[in-house]
């Protein structure tokens, strides 16, 4: 059974119909790359999966947790879905260690000692073990984003949503973040990524989803789609970014 199942999803911003009936199934361990022009609805789709955006029609299911239209109590679902943002969004008043420990102690009520162990393990995984006591403003953008990944992983999510996580980074810092994501993918983490890194999507993605005007316009194996797009829209999109 699919880990994430999205059926007939519709979303409006006022009179703007941004998601026009999305159906998508994601198996455990898959890496999904969501691509498309800005305004195509890819970020909105990602944000509905952990309830940062509500929707009017359809259903989302993540690991047995159902999400219905207009629902606002999402805490059970959000424990299963981690999210990483374009702007990192670390808590500036907390140290790196406290950033990673906050949700495990406050939400999961894990004791301080154990939470610290989890935090150190996760920071080790993203290569920032020695930054435990640093503050976010002492880190580079790439390091901040890796802390954000560690912070999401500490909650042991089943799915990780990545919303253009390298778009705010200087070009030389992109690779250190992508390397971490690649490791996660290799370890079997289920990832749904909105990304402009086409080479990465092609290399690491199991499935490419091309969104256009609020619909999934084309989806399938990344290699096939990149080399042989079936629709003029995808062909145009690929052409425009190369």
């Amino acid at each position: 059974m699919a880990l994430v199942r999205i059926n007939g999803l519709h979303k409006h911003f006022g009179s703007n119909h941004v998601l026009k009936g999305i159906d998508l199934e994601i198996e455990e361990g898959q890496v999904i790359a969501l691509i498309g022009r800005s305004g195509s609805g890819k970020s909105t789709l990602l944000r509905t999966i952990n309830g940062l955006e509500t929707f009017e029609q359809g259903e989302i299911q993540v690991d047995g947790e159902h999400l219905h239209p207009h629902e606002t109590d999402l805490r059970a679902l959000r424990q299963k879905v981690g999210m990483i943002f374009q702007q990192f969004n670390l808590f500036p008043h907390l140290s790196v260690g406290q950033n990673v420990m906050l949700a495990t102690t406050v939400v999961k009520k894990i004791g301080n000692k154990e939470a610290e162990d989890i935090a150190r393990t996760m920071l080790l995984k993203v290569g920032l073990y020695e930054k435990f006591d640093a503050y976010p403003d002492q880190l580079s953008g790439g390091q901040q984003q890796r802390v954000a990944i560690a912070r999401a992983l500490a909650m042991q999510p089943r799915v990780l949503l990545c919303d253009e996580i390298t778009s705010a980074l200087d070009p030389e810092l992109v690779n250190e973040v992508l390397a971490v994501v690649k490791t996660l993918a290799a370890e079997g983490m289920t990832l749904i990524m909105v990304t402009h890194e086409m080479r990465f999507a092609r290399e690491v993605g199991d499935k490419l989803v091309f969104m256009h005007h609020g619909r999934i316009h084309e989806a399938g194996d990344p290699q096939t789609l990149f080399s042989n797009p079936q629709t003029p829209e995808l062909a145009g999109f690929i052409g425009s970014i190369n």
């Binding site: 943002f85 906050l102 999401a152």
Partner: protein
């Protein structure tokens, strides 16, 4: 025209001055702690539109900010007994200061809460934090840190404003000054010294609060 200063006639009453100073500081401390607590609650109610508290606090803030402190004090001291609530001058003074500071700090802290970047809240939500948890751990500390200098100033303003509590016979520093100059007929010297005490108190309170803010809110060893 030479005026012969005679401070010794004031210093004879140093115990009264000290007692008044302690009372003024006490009023300020209680007023600050309770006023800031009300301010935090009022601020989040208004910023996050928590019905029905948002409307209640809007009305409260407007009422307090648009009336004089002395009138608020008289309203409490003379008004509440008419409703059958027995209240002495200290209770009235503290209540007036808490109510006054609560309104101003509601507005100050609200500005800090509203300056929270949207992404901070979304990050906390995506970590499955409840509204109360994310307010307590993610929104409030940086918000207080941002507006702390304004809050310190407001507490000092309220401390200086507490001098009007002498009007309901609360024996704080200004009351002591009135008392002393009515005895020694040395008004100039008396208010000279009391002015100096207020000045030093104001600086000391502001410094103490800034230090406390660094310790309690910032908790950053740098």
């Amino acid at each position: 025209m030479a005026y012969a200063f005679d401070f010794s006639s004031v210093l004879e009453y140093r115990e009264a001055l000290l007692a008044g100073t302690v009372k003024t500081l006490g009023l300020t401390a209680v007023g600050a702690v309770c006023g800031l607590a009300i301010g935090i609650f009022g601020a989040v109610s208004r910023a996050w539109r928590l019905a029905p508290f948002d409307r209640i606090f809007t009305a409260y803030v407007e009422l307090i900010r648009n009336t004089p402190f002395l009138v608020q004090l008289f309203f409490i001291f003379f008004g509440l007994p008419s409703l059958g609530v027995q209240i002495n001058e200290w209770q009235a003074a503290i209540l007036a200061m808490v109510v006054n500071l609560g309104a101003y700090s509601t507005e100050i802290i609200r500005a800090g809460i509203e300056a929270t970047p949207r992404g901070q809240i979304e990050a906390a939500q995506s970590l499955a934090m409840s509204r109360a948890q994310l307010f307590r751990h993610v929104v409030l500390p940086p918000a207080l840190l941002k507006v702390w200098p304004s809050l310190c100033s407001q507490v000092v303003i309220v401390m200086l404003g507490s001098s009007v509590c002498s009007q309901i016979a609360a024996e704080e520093l200004t009351f002591a000054a009135n008392f002393i100059q009515s005895r020694n007929f040395r008004a100039f010297e008396t208010y000279f010294i009391v002015t100096g005490i207020y000045f030093l108190l104001a600086i000391a309170v502001r410094q103490a609060m800034i230090q406390a803010g660094q310790r309690l809110i910032a908790r950053r060893a740098r």
